[in-house]
Symmetry: C2
Subunit: 356 residues, 2 copies
């Protein structure tokens, strides 16, 4: 078996690719009215996106519970065949995850990286499988528009105005089932591959907190752009690659404003990603017609776009190797009210199509 | 090099022990008035434990910043020699960590496991080093009495009464520097060993969320006891050990009430740990004289007790192999106010003395 390698400042190249055997997504109604309509596995049938619950927080836990169920069903596995679960969300003390995953009885590592958590979970999950610590793990994140507004800004009833550079928290959750090559080829415990090819995580770049002094919690795109720039440039340096080595580079939720900031920051390092950059926050909504201002955001944003869109395009051959970089803004309402900055973090995941 | 092994349901045995090269602790004044007085590396010189800051949240970040500084100084390393940092705390969106670790520029994975986070960080850190992903990592947690009261219950000014089964959140933070055997023996980047012997993490048991229906957020001991019982019994099963194989078993912060619940739960599985069980929450304060009711709690509690007490006793030969099981209660103020249960989680870390 080829060896895993620690590369450069912060990256890891896996000796054996860690397979993404399947993924399941669930979203609110508005997410299914955007450009990715029809791509999700399940959509809320209730215009308030309560998912059968009586509070927004419980609704978000229901999203996670459902995302696990869909992912297990699509991959044909039982919960007890998943050795570890890596999950997180945006709520205080990550309660959406605690209550969402409870019933599955899977050993659990709780993560917090704000909206970068999907990247952090995929990094931790892939590292765990590649090290041989587990045959099969699940990575999971969620966000809910209403629970996030209440958590970070004002409850919806307050009716506060949002500035044009603000983003819109995605209501959604996605789970990803990672498995080692060896177990995927065995008669026992092998998951059903949801794709007609092998799709795998071949390396990761763990992010670093970057603080550029942004103090406006609505302006998350600019708060996160420096962290995305660090992760992208570090990934290229660590792996000895140029942007030519990636067919596409996805950030999590920089939105239109943050994406421009990212281009400017990378220009200083003579890195130009404009022709192959997509932002999950701008893919999920129609920015002209859906009144979301700068785009989507939230732990669920990059997760559902990866699950419902990116992985399928890789399967279809549109992209062969991509860099997936969910981005997070590190704040809470107390730090914001006490006048602290909003630093950012972004974790990088290299995902590739591998011929069967 | 011996191989890492995934054992049983949730445990990992490391082929090469992951060395704890050093550790640094900082606490508030009250923590230094208990049984461990004089054992900590640094103590607040301000009776309000503000650590030079103007808010409780910033004070907690200052604790983390200082714990890293002490740990780096004691091990003779620069921050840039630490490849990854695993950290967490109790505040919403783990802001104590985000702002505490910011200046060190170390690639960062944010964790949330409530008061079990010290165990989660040591699991993740040791797994990362043992897999060869990093030569050197730091694991870090903190809690602050005043920031935790404000976060979970009432700000101190409110003067609320605490029931006798409530615990007292420890003001403190500790960092742990983990290093691979190979790098510790090299001329380059080897940390100064703070101990006269090798102390190492030889295995871990990742915890699982357990919900026994507790609804009282003050009664955290009973909320966490089932998770501790699961982790201890799973560790014994997975490693094929009995309690005789451990010289001592430490829980994080069950307190007096939760410890009794743990004994009862383990009795059902015919496991008796009474003669070798210690609870970090009961080691840090004098329960008779310090008016802390059931004992200490918080992410910082088990961390500073491990750093200032347990590791030294292992060095002195009092214990040869211990099981360290920080325990966490999974709630936030919204979940509590909405009447949800308080589930618990506990992560297990096997720490051993290894002859030089």
């Amino acid at each position: 078996m080829a060896e895993n390698k620690a590369l450069g400042k912060s990256s890891i190249s896996f000796g054996e690719p860690v397979l993404i055997m399947g993924s399941g997504s669930i979203v609110g109604q508005m997410e299914n009215e955007g450009p990715l309509a029809g791509c999700f596995d399940k959509v809320s049938d209730d215009k308030n996106d309560m998912f059968g619950e009586d509070s927004w927080e419980k609704a978000e836990s229901a999203l996670q519970k459902e995302a696990i169920a869909i992912t297990l069903e699509k991959t044909g596995l039982d919960a007890n065949e998943v050795r570890y679960l890596f999950a997180g969300d945006l709520l205080g003390q990550t309660i959406a995850s605690s209550f969402g995953v409870l019933d599955y009885n899977i050993p659990f590592m709780g993560l917090y990286g704000a909206c970068s958590t999907c990247g952090e979970a995929l990094c931790a999950g892939a590292m765990t499988v590649a090290a041989g610590y587990a045959d099969t793990v699940m990575c999971l994140t969620s966000s809910h528009f209403a629970s996030a507004q209440k958590e970070f800004r004002y409850p919806l009833e307050y009716g506060g105005q949002r500035p044009l550079y603000a983003s819109w928290t995605v209501t959604g959750s996605a789970g990803f089932l990672l498995q080692s090559q060896a177990i995927s080829q065995s008669a026992n415990k092998a998951a059903k591959n949801n794709y007609s090819c092998k799709i795998a995580i071949t390396g990761v770049t763990v992010g670093k907190i970057e603080d550029f002094g942004i103090k406006d919690s609505f302006n998350m795109g600019c708060a996160m752009a420096p962290a995305a720039a660090w992760t992208i440039s570090t990934n290229l340096k660590d792996f000895g690659r140029t942007t030519d080595d990636y067919d596409a580079i996805f950030t999590g939720d920089l939105g239109s404003v943050g994406s421009d900031a990212l281009y400017t920051l990378l220009d200083e390092q003579k890195i130009d990603i404009r022709s192959k950059h997509y932002d999950c926050g701008m893919l999920i909504y129609d920015l002209n017609s859906q009144d979301v201002h700068a785009g989507g955001s939230g732990c669920g944003c990059s997760a559902v776009v990866l699950s419902a869109h990116i992985l399928h395009k890789i399967e279809q051959g549109e992209w062969r190797r991509i860099l997936f970089v969910p981005t997070g803004a590190l704040l809470n309402k107390t730090s914001f009210n006490e006048g602290q900055n909003v630093p950012g973090i972004a974790h990088g995941v290299v995902i590739e199509k591998i011929e069967m």
